[in-house]
């Protein structure tokens, strides 16, 4: 990030960054929890799978490694937001389920099990 030298510049830069984030709403947003417990339950390979497979799909996307949502009982968790839809959180995602999330939910909008209720 460029160096901020005065307050005006910060405000301008900050609103620019905000706009950039908002423009992501036309893309598929994939957030993968990458905290200590998520990684211990196997979030690493899941993240790699999304990183390798998503570019092959004909959809614009952003992939964001995040901290945890606090859903330790369901790690690894993946949150997917399709354009115009509410975010959906998938729990206990392994590589196989991650593949299904891509092929069925992201590409076809079909529900996949392992959605965590009430989010």
């Amino acid at each position: 990030m460029e160096r901020i030298n005065n307050y005006e510049q910060f405000k301008k830069s900050s609103s620019g960054i905000k706009k950039e984030r908002e423009s992501n709403s036309s893309k598929v947003i994939i957030k993968i929890a990458m905290a200590t417990c998520s990684i211990a339950s196997g979030a690493g390979p899941v993240f790699d799978l999304f990183k390798d497979e998503m570019p092959k799909q004909p959809k614009e996307f952003v992939l964001i490694p995040t901290g945890c949502l606090g859903l330790c009982h369901s790690e690894p968790t993946v949150e997917v937001t399709l354009p115009g839809s509410d975010p959906v959180v998938f729990g206990k995602v392994d590589v196989k389920r991650a593949g299904l999330i891509i092929s069925d939910y992201i590409m076809k909008g079909k529900t996949v099990d392992c959605i965590i209720e009430g989010n």
């Binding site: 200590t36 417990c37 990684i39 211990a40 339950s41 330790c72 009982h73 790690e75």
Partner: protein, 158 residues
């Protein structure tokens, strides 16, 4: 290598570490972290080299090494087994898991196997309570460990 030569080598290494922290006694804990990272443990020779270098009594260094549970004067095994004894792990049966490791490896908590391969120690909560009971071997975390799985886990390292 003779004993005094070894001591010279330790002194040299420790001098390097201490100078990163400007030989500042206020940084003693940071120095010990670094030294333990290098040697794997903090034997007496290392402690006295540090004391001499930064100008504090060896008793002070020893006092700190024994005060903090992170520091150890025993060499750890090649595969250090850490069993979490936080409350969440305790109520999920960590004590039984510890006993299983102890009886399979025939060493007690805090000891290292004769071949230097495994050592067992307990620690207080690694913050992965959602996976309790938790065992760490090196950097690898095993969650929801059952006593029946201990044998298999050990065999991964044989």
């Amino acid at each position: 290598m003779s004993c005094s030569e070894k001591q010279e080598q330790i002194k040299k290494t420790i001098a390097g570490i201490c100078s990163e922290f400007n030989d500042d006694p206020n940084e003693l804990i940071a120095i010990l972290h670094k030294a333990q990272g290098h040697y794997g443990f903090l034997p007496k020779e290392v402690q006295s080299a540090i004391a001499e270098r930064i100008g504090v009594p060896a008793s002070k260094v020893y006092g700190i090494v024994t005060f903090y549970s992170y520091f150890t004067m025993e060499p750890k095994g090649k595969y250090p087994i850490s069993i979490c004894m936080g409350t969440a792990c305790y109520v999920q049966g960590a004590e039984k898991v510890l006993q299983e490791f102890e009886s399979r490896l025939e060493i007690k908590n805090g000891q290292t196997t004769a071949d230097g391969k495994f050592s067992i120690n307990t620690l207080r909560c690694i913050g992965a309570c959602g996976l309790a009971p938790v065992v760490m071997i090196g950097d690898k975390v095993y969650g929801n460990v059952k006593t029946e799985e201990v044998k298999k886990i050990i065999s991964e390292y044989n």
